[in-house]
């Protein structure tokens, strides 16, 4: 899952980025409000962690501008402002969660996963499509009761496809989900990962729509 982290404090930002990476997130870190707004407009992040006291543009303004632009991604506000009026304002402006510093990394990760899950209309933590169960918290995949070992990239790719179950994602979209800044994307990387996934989970799970992209279909309820 690729998320945007907007935090101006060097030590905290560095720690959050490292910690969230450990927990399986792809983290892009910006240090001011204008950069945060620019990136949120440009990239399809799964979620954003937003500090409020940002230079150049206050976090609250960034949030308002992003919502104004119709960007609906889940936003978790992470701030030191703990006064109740601040919390209320934050949530009213468009935050999906409001967390006061300091926060436990595992809790932060769980909250982000929950936000992403809800944003995709998933009631349960685990995603299950066509007999394949994906647990985002444990980063594990099971098929027919047996664990399937996947690399980090393969897991992220499957996670993106299953979260958007029934929708076709283009190769570019999948690349944006899979790579944070500065990571080299080989030209046929997505095809290679799809190939590996098909080998491990069966060819039928991921379908190719020629010229458009890939999808994992939801089970159709037959009349």
């Amino acid at each position: 899952m690729r998320i945007l982290l907007a935090e101006d404090d060097t030590l905290l930002g560095d720690g959050l980025r490292a910690g969230l990476r450990q927990l399986g997130f792809l983290v892009d870190w910006v240090r001011d409000g204008e950069a945060a707004e620019r990136e949120l407009r440009a990239q399809p992040y799964a979620a954003a962690v937003l500090d409020l006291g940002l230079p150049l543009k206050d976090g609250m303004e960034v949030l308002a501008a992003v919502r104004q632009a119709g960007i609906a991604l889940p936003v978790l506000v992470l701030t030191a402002r703990d006064a109740v009026p601040d919390r209320i304002r934050g949530l009213d402006v468009g935050a999906d969660d409001y967390v006061v510093k300091p926060v436990d990394l595992h809790e932060l990760a769980a909250r982000l996963r929950a936000l992403v899950r809800r944003a995709h209309g998933q009631p349960q933590e685990c995603l299950t499509l066509q007999g394949v169960t994906l647990d985002p918290a444990a980063r594990s995949v099971q098929q027919a009761g047996a664990a399937v070992a996947l690399s980090a990239r393969e897991f992220d790719l499957l996670h993106a496809l299953m979260l958007n179950g029934g929708r076709v994602l283009s190769r570019e979209q999948l690349e944006q989900h899979l790579y944070s800044w500065g990571q080299e994307v080989e030209s046929n990387a997505i095809e290679v990962h799809i190939h590996h996934l098909r080998r491990k989970l069966g060819a039928a799970l991921i379908q190719t729509v020629r010229g458009v992209g890939y999808t994992v279909l939801r089970e159709l309820s037959r009349p």
């Binding site: 720690g15 490292a18 927990l23 001011d32 230079p55 510093k101 436990d104």
Partner: protein, 452 residues
């Protein structure tokens, strides 16, 4: 006499006391005046009666020698027992009223023959008028008990004092009502204040407040305003402090957690280093907060005469390695001894904050200049740099607790400016933040009044 504590009781006592005193002051002359007039009138009557008796007796004695037996005249009026007369003819009692004694009412033989006298007869005071006939053989005494005069006087005064006595309680009631109405705005103010929430700091508005209460209300509302400002500033401080204290702790916690979960040795070392850095930052913040608290307490400033130039050279010597580390040029121009009165420890903190900020917020290879100069009327410390400087609004805000220019890339506490301002205030020095004309960055000037 101590007045009652309540304003209403006080006014009531004063009004009623004044009215009663005025009445008494008027009643006393009235009493004396009435007595005097009465005395004159009744004395006149006595004299008249005596004259009548003298005339009658002279006539009688000339006509026939008196019968001698019917000495006592009849009683004709209920007041008659209080009035008596005696007629002596050639030293013998010729006629008397029934209540008159046989002996002359006023001792004869004294030079007293005509005129008024007040005498005691059988323990009763009498007012007596004595008169003599033309032939000097008739001596008439007409007397009247003085007690009867007092009765008349009392009767007269009673008739005037009665209405007063009745009026006094009525007046008291009226005064009570009027006073109560008069102090109603005070009571309504008291009620308004009592009903307020402790946090309510809106101005008090009393529509029926009399003009005398306007200064008090204005003072009260002024006080409310100042308290509201103070509370807002404290709230801002709490919010800012929360931010400044939580962020380093959040960083420490996060980095420690990263270190715990990191398998890669290099990354774990990095996280641990960052944890230590966070601890240093938190420690520095706590240090700054304590310094600020001490400076704000102010009382610790032990003022002594010291050489600011020497102090500046010493502080810059301590900080110079930091500047050299950033390849900055730091120059001191403080040769001339400049004496100021101050606390050496606090002044060192002030200078250290200014120089440290100049180094910290200026980029590598920048120039920092510290100078101390003595002018005729003051001593001037100036710290300037060739750093990015500050915008006018930011320069205004420097000195607000926790104010920090965001995006400077430095993890300062935002307390340095507050500390400098506070220490300067303790030393009656003034602080100015300006753009540096020579170096293009920021210039901070602290000015002390010179010691003669």
């Amino acid at each position: 006499m101590t007045l009652p504590r309540s304003l209403q009781g006080r006014l009531l006592v004063l009004v009623l006391g004044t009215v009663t005193s005025v009445w008494l002051v008027i009643a006393v002359p009235t009493w004396f005046d009435a007595r005097h007039e009465l005395d004159e009138l009744l004395d006149g009557h006595l004299a008249q009666a005596a004259a009548l008796l003298v005339a009658q007796q002279t006539h009688e004695f000339e006509g026939d020698e008196h019968g001698g037996d019917d000495l006592d005249a009849p009683v004709l009026h209920r007041y008659a027992p209080k009035v008596a007369f005696q007629v002596f003819h050639e030293g013998r009692l010729a006629l008397r009223s029934a209540n008159a004694p046989a002996a002359p009412m006023v001792e004869l033989g004294r030079r007293f023959e005509t005129g008024f006298a007040t005498v005691q007869i059988d323990g009763v005071a009498w007012r007596v008028f004595a008169a003599r006939g033309a032939e000097r053989d008739v001596q008439v005494f007409v007397g009247e008990q003085t007690g009867s005069r007092a009765s008349i006087l009392w009767a007269v005064l009673r008739s005037t004092l009665w209405p007063m006595a009745v009026a006094l309680p009525l007046l008291a009631l009226a005064a009570w009502w009027a006073v109560r109405r008069g102090v109603a705005p005070l009571r309504s103010l008291g009620r308004t204040l009592a009903e307020r929430q402790p946090q309510a700091l809106a101005p008090v508005v009393l529509s029926d407040a009399p003009s005398e209460m306007a200064p008090m209300l204005a003072a009260l509302n002024g006080l409310f305003e100042r308290i509201a400002e103070l509370m807002a500033s404290e709230r801002r401080f709490t919010a800012d402090a929360a931010h400044e204290l939580r962020t380093p702790i959040a960083a420490i916690r996060t980095q420690a957690q990263v270190a715990l979960g990191e398998a890669d040795e290099a990354l774990r070392r990095h996280a641990l280093q960052a944890t230590l850095q966070g601890c240093d930052r938190a420690a520095r913040l706590v240090e700054q907060l304590l310094t600020l608290a001490r400076a704000e307490a102010g009382a610790t400033a032990a003022l002594a005469v010291l050489d600011l130039s020497a102090l500046v050279r010493q502080v810059v010597a301590e900080l110079a390695p930091q500047a050299l580390h950033k390849q900055q040029t730091i120059a001191v121009d403080a040769v001339q001894p400049c004496q100021v009165q101050g606390d050496a420890t606090l002044l060192a903190v002030l200078v250290r904050n200014l120089v440290d900020n100049a180094i910290r917020y200026s980029p590598p290879r920048a120039r920092v200049r510290v100078s101390v100069t003595r002018e005729t009327a003051h001593v001037l410390l100036r710290v300037e740099d060739s750093g990015p400087g500050m915008t006018e609004p930011d320069r205004q805000r420097i000195g607000e607790r926790f104010f920090r220019v965001l995006g400077s890339g430095q993890d300062g506490s935002g307390l340095g400016g507050s500390i400098v301002r506070r220490i300067a205030a303790v030393h009656q020095a003034s602080v100015r933040v300006l753009p540096s004309a020579d170096l293009g960055g920021l210039a901070v000037e602290v000015e002390w009044p010179a010691r003669s």
